[in-house]
Every structure is written in structure tokens, then in C-alpha cells.
Symmetry: C2
Subunit: 193 residues, 2 copies
């Protein structure tokens, strides 16, 4: 891994400064803030403009909160308890045309583009996001009442950053922006490797 | 579909103004511009910070160009011929630990986050991108020399925008920013639908 958060080429600070904290204030999130993030996700590109993503959300303290929160792994619940909102990222995996049903090969990739847009708009508004693959998949399918041909890929916690010290010690120690591989290990000219 | 490019909630213009044109000038792209885009992709979040994406690129006019260009469907080749660079988005689909091999469920989603970051950094630099699912999959696997446990999900053309009139008439007519569904059809409270 490279040094933490050290860019190798000039890039907008938006991309470097966006991180995925676990320490949140627990404050209420206004609808206009949350829907600004959803609006950013809306304009992501997708193959044939299918927009395969669906976003299912709940605000902390609302009647819908436990439905989403209970899907998370216990290790995530510890810190998500202080988040302001949860969003499940759901994708339409297949398309039907008449008798035929075919997988949309880019359904998850396109949904990731929507997720990134949401995360960056959150950053622009002074809020933070933290994506999670750690959830009970079958429980989430049921809790979110997903129809056939839809699948859930991740949850994101949204909140306002708080001090690392507000976390239990073992999580506080992890509240450090993560590094990335050097670009030379990721970007190749012409062919892999 | 909603009216073209009409936001329903306040959002940074970056997300609305990014579109996927087909008309490009064909001018050469400097390495510092291209690597600024790659750098943005580098900082995308991913499950367990695995960074499953790999980016394989070629600049127009280079010895590597035809290897990527020849993978595209003829309908895309018509306009990609005037792009400045092509990037194939490859993802590591599985992880091995000792004897076990397991799918990384978010490999494509995380790769989509990297793609979105690249596209937005391009927009910030005054360049444009256009993602494509229309390529020959097996041909691309071979041309890119992909190892086992890697797969290619999309290609993106990168270039400077040119006038729609520079395109063949049937493509010029499509050079209109695409709309999106209303948010009410995409964002749900608590459960699907």
C-alpha cells in the first residue's frame, strides 16, 4: 500500500478528502440534505440509461430504522447506531422483454456509480458516508421486500463526523483514512499486468 | 421519464452537467490529464478496501489502441474513432485465501464507484467520458490478457466534446443529454416500492 491519502497525480481534493468514518454525531439529517444526495445518485450514467439502482432508506429514530438496522452485522451495528440515516443499495439484476429474461451485465457496476455520486454529494454538503458489505443478505431481501430480479449489494450509513474518541477504543484505533495501492498496480497500458 | 436534466432537489451542478457525448474532437490527451482521472478512480471506496478494479487503457494513435478499439461493437466504433483514449474497466471477481476461493460480492459495484470518480474528475477537467457495455466480451478477455478471477464490465471512451453536427446524422440526433426517472420511482422509505 502507498502512504495514507497521498495522491500520485493532481486530482480534485473532493476525492481525497472523502473518507468512510465510523464516528458519527447521531444528529438528525434534514430531508433536503438526504434528497440532495439521492439527486446526485439519480444522474449517474448506466448502460442504455436503465438506471438499475433503487435506494431504500430509513432515518435514525424513525419507525423504518430497525428494519434496515437489524440487517447489519453486529460489528457494524456498534457504530451505525450513531449514524443519521441508512440507505440500502438495490439493483435490478435482470430485464424482461416479452418472453425473454436476461441479466443486465452492468447492474451492479451502474449501481456503484450511483453510490459514488451519493457519497461525493454528501462530502460536498459536509456529511459523511460509510458503505458496508457486512449485512445478512437473506434477511435484507426479506426486510426490504425485494421483488424477483432485484438484489441488495450494500448498505451505506450517513452521518456527521464526530471525534474518533467517541468510539469504543478498538474502533477508534481504526478511524484513520485508508491508503490505496499505487496506481502502477491498478492502471495498465494495453493489457493486464 | 422526467424532463431532460431537471433536478428535483438541490445538487451540485457537477452531477447534472456530466453527460456522455459521442462527438469528440479526436485531439491528443496529455498523460497528466488521463492520470488525474485514474487518480480519482484510485480513491473510490471498496469493501475491505480491496480495490477490485483494474483499468486498462490505450490512447488513440498508439500501438495499443487497436487492441481495445477492436473489442467494441461496430455501432460504438463509429464514434469512438474520434475519442482520445479508451479505458477498459476490469474487476477482480474472486478472492483466494489459502485453499478457499470466494466471490467478492461487491466487485462490480466497487468498480462502478471507481468509474464514477473517473468520469467526474474528467468533467472537472473539461473532458468527457462515455461508458459502453457494447463490446465483444470473449474478445476483450483475450485482447486484455485477463487472468482467471478477473472480468471486464465496460469500456469508457474519453475525449473533448465536439459539435453534434460532426457526427453522422443518425448519431447527431441522439446527442441530447438523457433524462432520468423521477426520484419517487427510485427512492423508497423502509421497503421496496
Amino acid at each position: 500500500m502507498a502512504e495514507p491519502r497521498l495522491a500520485e497525480h493532481a486530482v480534485d481534493k473532493l476525492f481525497i478528502e472523502r473518507t468512510s468514518p465510523r464516528s458519527f454525531t447521531g444528529e438528525a439529517i434534514p430531508d433536503e440534505v438526504l434528497f440532495s444526495m439521492f439527486e446526485a445518485a439519480r444522474w449517474a450514467p448506466s448502460a442504455s440509461n436503465i438506471q438499475p439502482w433503487r435506494l431504500i432508506y430509513a432515518k435514525a429514530g424513525s419507525p423504518q430504522w430497525s428494519g434496515l438496522f437489524d440487517c447489519l452485522m453486529p460489528g457494524n451495528q456498534v457504530w451505525v447506531a450513531k449514524a443519521s440515516a441508512l440507505v440500502a443499495f438495490v439493483a435490478e439484476t435482470h430485464r424482461r422483454q416479452g418472453e425473454t429474461r436476461a441479466e443486465n451485465r452492468t447492474h451492479a457496476l451502474d449501481t456503484g456509480a450511483a453510490w459514488m455520486s451519493l457519497a461525493l454529494q454528501a462530502e460536498l454538503l459536509g456529511w459523511a458516508t460509510h458503505g458496508m458489505a457486512g449485512f445478512h443478505h437473506d434477511k435484507a431481501r426479506a426486510a426490504l421486500a425485494l421483488p424477483e430480479d432485484f438484489d441488495v449489494y450494500m448498505f451505506a450509513a450517513i452521518g456527521k463526523r464526530a471525534a474518533a474518541e467517541a468510539l469504543p477504543p478498538e474502533l477508534a484505533a481504526r478511524e484513520v483514512p485508508s491508503p490505496r495501492r499505487h496506481l502502477a498496480e491498478t492502471v495498465f497500458l494495453g493489457r493486464f499486468g
